[in-house]
């Protein structure tokens, strides 16, 4: 087994084996569930970091499952962009699962091992999605992750099961559309391997069938990505889920679907048929811009903290959509870095929400008055993560915005430029209202200082520290990993032809 295959397998298999292990031992030793989860995520993280190192400056890692080489078999392939994403997934998962134990005690008293097993399954599937080069394999991992997500959301109290069912319906429709798109592509090219399809497409004449296939693929992934107006499932799903689940799903799932869309557009279609892209990317950019505005405005109107974060996620996915639609290196780099920046910050924010539920039991925004006296460190972390969402330097959120801005200018899209720049004020609006409530309104009852326990506080602190560190050190992921990924270098070639 070569080093690269070992790395890729470790990234995907470690959480999967962990899930199976939990199920195997859960009856005898329920306490072990958390340790197994964290360890498997750490193994995945180790693999991810090795992949990051291997993919610097345009390197890639490849593996053919079962030794069947592409296009006959299923191939896994990680480039700079993929490496960044698998590191994000493993990192956020580790932090969330460390946080999970105490949080689940307050939100989900029974069946904790089941939760951990589902969470690991989700992580394994997301890692699979991020590393695969095969379209159908992507579908399988997409559905596995979605099923795990439905389960994780559905175990929350109250309306959670209804929210999860709605998510299931819409999500499965999306996955079905994606599968339909794969059917079209398979019928036309006879292959399921991404790079192979790209080659085959180059030789095909333009046809409506190709465009329809692309449309189905895009819509299916757009549903999973919660692009406006396909975002309806998101607010309920994120608000009613247990906070740990919200952190995991809200931080990761939509981003990996966005990555899949990125791959479909630029690895599969762009090399051979880039003239097909403009109708899709134009619409994507337009919808992304609307999503930014609508998501932010809806967030302002929310009284529940988690619902506000959910609408904020819709807005930030708009950024990623706009970045993908721009089709130039800066825009796509900005989109990918925003996946990281938003993933870390939003997961941290959801973890803080979980901490608030743990300590205070309620999540109305008004209930957060005086939070800084009860949980000063968590509140500080909240401020940092919020600043990243607003886009204030030196947090990571500013730099992803910077690259997106440059991408808009390069593509000559003044309208998208204005939306991205102006969104700072929109994001600031709802977060600053939150700050005003926390810092400047007096709570009804005075509570003494009661910070979160260490296992909850550490992930929150690490998450917010990461937001600033990723910002200051952004040149490493952005310039050595993302910008040098082969897909982007090829874009530059295509553009100059």
């Amino acid at each position: 087994m070569t080093a690269s295959s070992a790395i890729l397998l470790a990234i995907v298999l470690a959480p999967l084996l962990g899930a199976l292990l939990i199920v195997a031992v859960a009856l005898r030793a329920p306490r072990a569930a958390q340790s197994i989860s964290v360890i498997s995520c750490l193994v995945s993280l180790a693999g991810a970091l090795l992949a990051v190192e291997a993919c610097e400056n345009g390197g890639t890692l490849g593996y053919a499952y079962g030794g069947w080489i592409a296009p006959f078999g299923i191939a896994a392939r990680v480039d700079g962009i993929g490496a960044v994403l698998v590191a994000l997934i493993a990192g956020v998962a580790t932090l969330t699962l460390i946080f999970a134990e105490r949080s689940l005690q307050s939100e989900l008293p029974r069946d904790r091992s089941g939760f951990y097993a589902m969470a690991l399954l989700l992580v394994a599937a997301l890692q699979g999605m991020a590393t695969t080069a095969d379209l159908f394999n992507l579908y399988v991992f997409l559905e596995i992750s979605s099923l795990a997500a439905y389960a994780l959301i559905g175990v929350g109290g109250g309306p959670a099961s209804l929210a999860s069912f709605r998510y299931l319906i819409i999500g499965t429709v999306g996955a079905s559309f994606y599968l339909l798109g794969v059917a079209y592509i398979f019928a036309l090219t006879g292959s399921l391997n991404g790079p192979d399809i790209a080659l085959a497409l180059g030789g095909l004449p333009d046809s409506t069938a190709l465009l329809v296939g692309l449309a189905f693929l895009a819509v299916g992934l757009g549903l999973k990505m919660a692009v406006f107006p396909l975002h309806g499932w998101l607010p309920d799903a994120y608000s009613y889920a247990p906070s740990t689940a919200s952190a995991l799903i809200g931080g990761l799932m939509t981003k990996v679907s966005a990555l899949a869309l990125l791959r479909v557009l630029y690895v599969v279609f762009a090399p051979g048929k880039h003239e097909l892209l403009p109708p899709v990317t134009d619409l994507l950019g337009f919808l992304g811009a609307i999503g930014i505005v609508v998501g932010s405005l809806m967030a302002v109107a929310q009284r529940d903290f988690k619902r506000m974060l959910a609408y904020s996620s819709i807005a930030h996915l708009g950024f990623i959509a706009v970045g993908i639609s721009l089709g130039n290196a800066s825009g796509i780099s900005g989109a990918v870095f925003h996946m990281v920046a938003h993933g870390v910050a939003k997961a941290t924010l959801f973890l803080i929400a979980g901490g608030v539920v743990y300590r205070l039991g309620a999540l109305g925004v008004d209930g957060l008055a005086g939070l800084h006296r009860i949980m000063p460190i968590s509140t500080f972390a909240l401020v940092v993560a919020a600043l990243s969402m607003i886009g204030i330097p030196p947090t990571a959120g500013f730099f992803s915005k910077w690259y997106l801005m440059l991408g808009c200018l390069e593509a000559g899209r003044g309208d998208l430029f204005a939306v991205i720049v102006g969104s700072t004020v929109l994001s600031a609006w709802y977060f600053l209202r939150l700050f005003e409530t926390i810092f400047f309104t007096q709570p009804d009852d005075v509570r003494s200082r009661e910070e979160l326990p260490g296992s909850m506080l550490a992930p929150i602190a690490i998450g917010s520290a990461a937001t600033i560190l990723l910002g200051i050190a952004n040149q490493y992921p952005l310039e050595t990993l993302i910008a040098k990924a082969p897909v982007l270098s090829r874009l530059v070639e295509v553009a100059s032809r």
Partner: protein
């Protein structure tokens, strides 16, 4: 250029102080000591930077590339050093004053106050010493967030409304800055401040140049209270007086003006601007602000609001000086940046002392107070003379250069504006002095001067104004610095 970490030290000292102060809620004396020690340490950091700039060995930090071609970098060049030394010296003075004020009026949330103050100073020093627009933007936005708790300090409905207004204005300004910064980078690939401007910018299409210039001036103009972007400043007077004194007469507003000068002289340069005529536009907006601010000040009964409009007016003196693009005008602008700070802070200190001692905040209530608080009102009178531009005060020196600069730039109308404004200054400040000394009332009973920790700073700044009027090149050698800045950035 000499490499040194001292500029980072200058930013880190107040930042660390902010964190430390936040932990010292239980021991107020220790907390106040922390502030004073930090302020002294900051002066100890900025004075070597000043010496370096004067001696020709400009200290700059190692470049830390954070975006391709642009890094997080601080450089203590002559212009930056002026602002940095000013801010650090006045922080010490204001801290002493704050102690007296906050304890004298029994204010709540003092820890938050001192910590936010330190954070605001850290950001201001960062703005002052930034070597490029991106670093400046970073500290500029952090400044907004550091000053927000200070504006909202009283937590009353009025304070919250004022703080929201402040944020809306300043964050929108941030958006304009961000857009302009992005376009500038896309056009030239650099964001460095260079005396005389970035050459590549002069070669860009005129529309792009104008958009970038408009964005930057709009962005900085909000904090610099150029009309009609000034709306946040009078409302922000709801904050405690030391906040109004240092931040809204010195740090925040001067950051805006500082940014305008950096834009005009260090990003665009006189050659580029003369070609497009954009600077003349700004000059006339500034002139309008000077007059309009002074006129509105006449009608304000609330003392701090009157001073606020006076600030709006005087900030545009500085912007006007920069926009005139002539050597003397630039000297006048830099000098007025310093002089106005000293004079205005004196006035605000007096207003605060009066408020703490008597509870009065309206001009109409101040009859006869000069008998009871002669030193305070004496300092007020001195500062009023200085703002009006009467020799031998420092205000006269900067005004002289500004008028000279208007004539040099062949805009004699603007010199007239400055003179008219001087008259208006007398019109809105002298009635206060007259009323204080020459009218009598029995309202003030046995009240005496404010406590020493409030009295000493205001006397000190008033004396400093006289001293710098007599010896403009004394102490930190502001005049020499101003002149070399004007030469370096001139045509």
């Amino acid at each position: 250029m000499t490499e040194s970490m001292l500029p980072w030290a200058a930013v880190t000292v107040p930042a660390l102080a902010a964190l430390l102060i936040a932990r010292l809620d239980r021991s107020p004396n220790l907390r106040e000591t922390c502030t004073l020690v930090a302020a002294t340490a900051l002066i100890a950091c900025t004075l070597p930077l000043l010496a370096g700039a004067l001696g020709g060995a400009v200290l700059e930090t190692p470049d830390f590339e954070i975006v391709p071609g642009v890094g997080l970098q601080l450089r203590a060049d002559r212009f930056g050093v002026v602002f940095a030394v000013l801010a650090s010296a006045l922080w010490l003075v204001t801290s002493v004053y704050s102690i007296g004020y906050m304890r004298g009026s029994g204010e709540h949330a003092q820890t938050r106050y001192y910590a936010s103050f330190a954070a605001a100073i850290a950001s201001t020093i960062g703005v002052a010493l930034s070597a490029n627009l991106l670093t400046l933007y970073l500290f500029y936005e952090v400044l907004t967030f550091a000053t927000y708790p200070l504006v909202a300090h009283k937590e009353t409905e009025k304070a919250l409304v004022a703080s929201r207004k402040y944020l809306v204005y300043t964050l929108s300004a941030g958006v304009a800055l961000l857009a302009a910064m992005g376009m500038l980078y896309a056009e030239t690939g650099t964001l460095d401040f260079r005396a005389g401007g970035i050459e590549a910018l002069g070669r860009a299409p005129v529309l792009t140049q104008n958009l970038i210039f408009a964005g930057l001036i709009l962005g900085f103009g909000v904090k610099a209270a150029l009309m009609p972007l000034h709306g946040w400043l009078p409302s922000a007077m709801v904050a405690p007086t030391p906040v109004s004194a240092l931040l809204h007469a010195v740090a925040v507003v001067k950051s805006g003006v500082f940014g305008c000068i950096r834009t005009i002289a260090f990003l665009f340069g006189p050659a580029t601007l003369a070609a497009s005529g954009a600077a003349t536009c700004v000059a006339y907006v500034a002139a309008f602000t000077i007059l309009f601010g002074s006129v509105v000040a006449l009608s304000q009964d609330n003392l701090k609001r009157r001073l606020a409009y006076s600030t709006i007016s005087h900030l545009s003196y500085i912007v006007l000086g920069a926009a005139l693009l002539s050597t003397s005008a630039t000297i006048g602008a830099v000098l007025h940046l310093v002089n106005h700070a000293l004079l205005k802070i004196t006035l605000f200190f007096c207003a605060g002392a009066i408020y703490v001692t008597t509870g009065c905040d309206r001009v109409s209530q101040l009859s006869g107070i000069g008998r009871r608080m002669p030193l305070t009102m004496g300092a007020f009178a001195v500062a009023a003379l200085g703002l009006a531009g009467v020799p031998p005060l420092n205000g006269f020196v900067s005004k002289w250069y500004l008028c000279l600069g208007s004539l040099q730039a062949e805009h004699p109308l603007l010199a007239l504006v400055l003179i008219v404004s001087g008259v208006l200054n007398i019109a809105y400040l002298f009635p206060i002095v007259y009323r204080a000394f020459f009218e009598s009332s029995d309202d003030f009973g046995d009240l005496g001067e404010a406590s020493l920790s409030m009295l000493a700073p205001l006397v000190l700044t008033a004396l400093a104004s006289i001293a710098f009027g007599l010896w403009p090149d004394g102490g930190p050698r502001a005049w020499t610095l101003a002149q070399s800045i004007a030469e370096a950035t001139g045509q």
